[in-house]
């Protein structure tokens, strides 16, 4: 199965994903929801994310899910359906959607875990529909993709400029 990050995601796709994340965040009464690729890249987020350092959050969540998956296999399980971290003030619910992406739900004291689990199940189905649509879209042939998918010619000078500023 192609990882989510290997798919081309356009603005309209992202809007659908964010709508799902927002619905989950509100219905589950959670603080924030994040969609993360299994390789650790943040795809989209909703809710109170202003104070979150989302890049390492995404990376560590992917590491945690990867470790849980490997543990499951060691024990002869296909997978562990979710990973839950329970702190004094914050809690994290991590689950895998369709083998492609990780759904992270950040809960505070006001969130009910049972409600979160119920809503995660519902929204996971909607997300899987979106991923199915994305994966059915033909991959653009190199150099012949739709114009909006072109990054353009990346020259050695472009890369040099990146590092010279650092």
């Amino acid at each position: 199965m192609r990882p989510l990050s290997d798919l081309v995601i356009y603005e309209e796709d992202l809007s659908r994903i964010i709508a799902c994340l927002s619905a989950l965040q509100q219905k589950a009464r959670s603080a924030a929801t994040l969609l993360i690729d299994t390789s650790g890249q943040l795809i989209a987020s909703a809710g109170e994310t202003g104070r979150l350092d989302m890049t390492p959050l995404a990376s560590l969540a992917a590491g945690s899910i990867a470790a849980a998956g490997a543990l499951a296999q060691l024990l002869g399980e296909k997978e562990f359906s979710f990973v839950f971290y329970d702190g004094e003030r914050k809690r994290l619910h991590l689950s895998v959607i369709g083998g492609r992406a990780i759904l992270l739900v950040l809960l505070d004291q006001h969130s009910a875990v049972a409600l979160v689990r119920l809503q995660v199940k519902k929204v996971s189905r909607d997300m899987e529909d979106i991923f199915r649509d994305l994966s059915r879209r033909p991959t653009p042939v190199a150099g012949e993709g739709p114009s909006r998918s072109r990054i353009g010619e990346i020259t050695d000078a472009d890369v040099d400029n990146l590092f010279n500023k650092g």
Partner: protein
Amino acid sequence: MSFINYAAREINCKLVYYGAGLCGKTTNLQHIYKKVDPGAKGKLISLATETERTLFFDFLPLELGTIRGFKTRFHLYTVPGQIFYEASRKLILKGADGVVFVADSQLERMEANIQSLADMRQHLTEQGIEPTKIPLVIQYNKRDLRNAVPIDELQKALNPRNLPWFEAIAPQGVGVFETLKAISKIVLQELQKKT
């Protein structure tokens, strides 16, 4: 794999530093973290043991600027080099866009380098990545040590395909940015071919 967010105009690439235990992977990231402008880097996260040996991975996000209007982010990871962390190494290669193989130049680490390279190829294959197709550069680290093997011998043993290679003394920063720049360039060129 590299994630291009056309809505936010962002390119995200995952680069993995691979190599045998104590070859200098974490030292590479620490030097990059020290030298990069504060606005261009996130936190350096190290999941390490009490004796500072990498347990799971180190992670350093870099946002160096824009290319063709796309904010370009590199996510740098290291793997734990010690032999018994094999399962973790495999997980970290998932979705890698490019790999830096850090070789320890010391004569007594040649066997470990060769084993690590074979281990990397196997794990890439298991992650569905063709080892000969993924962007890869070799860094010969610890060039300042007296027992360092001559470059031509290292090349014969570790780099028969003559991939881009760099000499390095990671604690002093020698060769560190040259290596990062080279792998970044190849990854971005590959990305361009795909789009």
